[in-house]
């Protein structure tokens, strides 16, 4: 079966340009091969600067790779046009870490959720209105929240809005770029539950970009470890996940303890 998205020998480098000229290009991704099949849930794990988010941005088509190609349902995304391009836009959606920065603060929640529906679906105004209410309920919010502004919601609620916006056009792949990292622990767990539920009911694949290996075990079937822009390990996730690559072992070793480890203090 053709994967939803595939990356072949993808490389990307950035260079900064300032008054004193252009810096030496810094390679952030080198020779990435990745296939994402329908319904898969993949964790993209790595420390800051490992290239996780850049790979996400390339898969979404926000940026072009310097070399190699990214294909949607078998066609390179640079070559998509017309209905095929709209199908790609509908099919691959993303949720970012900073929910407040990801929405227009002057737009109501209703308008924010209707936007992808206006551009990517054929629904008319009434149908969009009904769909927005249904989406809000799907992510555990109230239909009346559509009249609110982003600043009138908590961080957890607003991230639910961003998830609703991403699933609005019925994507086949949802990319979650550190989408729960800004939330407190109790909210993180609630969000993971919501995402599990949505993934099952909507039959989406999920690419879960994170640095927290603890979350990977709760949500993903496969983990890809990225370091210095290269894939170091690609392993199935089970209960007793043991990563073998050097970087994987470092990440696993950095997991915070479950139970108190500090030495006993003398009682004052």
């Amino acid at each position: 079966m053709t994967p939803i998205l595939s990356a072949r020998s993808v490389s990307k480098s950035y260079s900064t340009v300032s008054l004193v000229g252009q810096s030496k290009p810094k390679t952030v991704l080198r020779d990435i091969d990745l296939d994402i099949a329908a319904g898969e849930s993949i964790a993209l794990l790595g420390r800051s600067g490992s290239g996780k988010s850049t790979l996400g941005r390339l898969l979404l088509g926000f940026e072009r790779p310097d070399s190699g190609k990214i294909a949607f349902a078998g066609t390179e995304i640079g070559g998509l046009s017309g209905e095929a391009y709209r199908d790609y836009r509908r099919s691959v959606q993303i949720v970012f870490q900073d929910s407040l920065g990801a929405v227009n603060p002057r737009h109501t929640i209703g308008r924010i959720l209707a936007e992808p529906l206006r551009h990517l679906t054929t629904l008319n105004a009434d149908e969009r209105d009904r769909k927005v209410r249904a989406l809000l309920m799907q992510v555990g919010l109230a239909p009346d929240d559509m009249r609110k502004l982003p600043t009138q919601m908590s961080g957890g609620q607003l991230q639910r809005v961003c998830i609703a916006r991403a699933i609005a056009p019925g994507p086949k792949l949802l990319v979650l770029d550190e989408a729960v990292s800004n939330l407190d622990l109790v909210l993180q767990m609630q969000m993971i539950e919501l995402l599990k539920q949505l993934k099952a009911s909507l039959d989406m694949a999920v690419l879960f970009i994170t640095h927290d290996l603890r979350l990977v075990r709760l949500f993903c079937g496969r983990v890809i470890v990225l370091a210095d822009g290269a894939i170091r390990e690609d392993a199935p996730v089970d209960r007793d996940l043991k990563l073998c690559s050097e970087e994987g072992r470092l990440l696993q070793g950095a997991i915070l303890p479950a139970r108190p480890v500090h030495r006993q203090i003398e009682v004052a």
Binding site: L185, V186, L187, M189, R214, L218, L256, A258, H262, I265
Partner: protein, 259 residues
């Protein structure tokens, strides 16, 4: 020899029209030298507000309506407290630095604020950089924030906090924006410094993993009040309040192999 810092019955409110909206409601905490006290609770429960209120650096429109801070039992004004008695490290090192100043400028500014800027500033700053594991400290002095990684910046912020020689440290979510590997190193560093320098630490966090890693005692906050205070072990083994249980349960759910 200073031994304790006590926040007593702190009440913080924001003025909304003609009534007060209470954000922190009668919080009392005692931080002891050589101990790490974690202040935990959900987003918006008043953890950071407590920390800012005690130091007199609340945002506009928010004020302390009651309570005081005692240093070894004697009341101390917020401006005498910050920098001199309490050093602070913040969550987001990226925005905590002045973008147009070098690390040397920041060090001088920090020392000037506590009247300790003298000819020895440079060597003391280099020492502090070495202590927190910033390699090539001479170069670091010349760097701006944008030239450093998040982990380096957080180490620099800890170094600046150490420069003041304050006996107490307030750390507000000091590792939340860092990746796990950098987080583990920064927590090791804080733990080590607190023990070696006998610092009293108030550590604000929402991650019970951080608490498990280094806290001696835990205060749990909900809706502006402290609802439970106990040793770290008791909080994990025998939580008394629903909010505390929820925190511990959400945390333990991350460790299916332990539960």
């Amino acid at each position: 020899m200073t031994a304790t810092l006590t926040i007593e019955n702190l009440r913080i409110a924001a003025r909304h029209g003609n009534h007060d909206h209470v954000l922190v409601d009668g919080v009392s905490l005692t931080i002891r030298r050589g101990r790490i006290l974690a202040l935990v609770g959900a987003s918006g429960c008043g953890k950071s507000m407590t920390c800012s209120g005690a130091q007199g650096v609340l945002p506009p429109g928010v004020r302390v309506t009651h309570g005081e801070v005692l240093h070894d039992g004697k009341p101390i004004a917020p401006q005498k407290l910050r920098g001199h008695v309490v050093a602070t490290i913040l969550q987001n090192p990226r925005s905590a630095f002045n973008p147009v100043q070098t690390m040397a400028d920041h060090a001088r500014e920090t020392l000037r604020a506590v009247d300790k800027l003298d000819a020895g500033w440079r060597s003391r700053t280099l020492d502090a950089f070495d202590t927190v594991g910033l390699e090539d400290s001479e170069t670091v002095l010349r760097l701006h924030a944008f030239e450093m990684s998040g982990g380096m910046l957080q180490r620099a912020m800890i170094a600046l906090a150490l420069l003041s020689d304050a006996p107490f440290l307030f750390a507000d979510e000091p590792t939340t924006d860092l990746d796990l590997i950098v987080q583990a190193r920064i927590l090791d560093l804080l733990d080590d410094l607190a023990r070696r320098r006998n610092l009293g630490v108030l550590m604000i966090t929402h991650d019970m993993g951080v608490v498990a890693r280094l806290a001696d005692e835990v205060a749990v906050m909900e809706n502006g009040r402290i609802i439970e205070m106990a040793s770290t072990r008791d909080i994990f083994d025998n939580p008394q309040r629903i909010a505390t249980r929820e925190l511990v349960e959400a945390h333990m759910a991350l460790y299916p192999e332990v539960a």
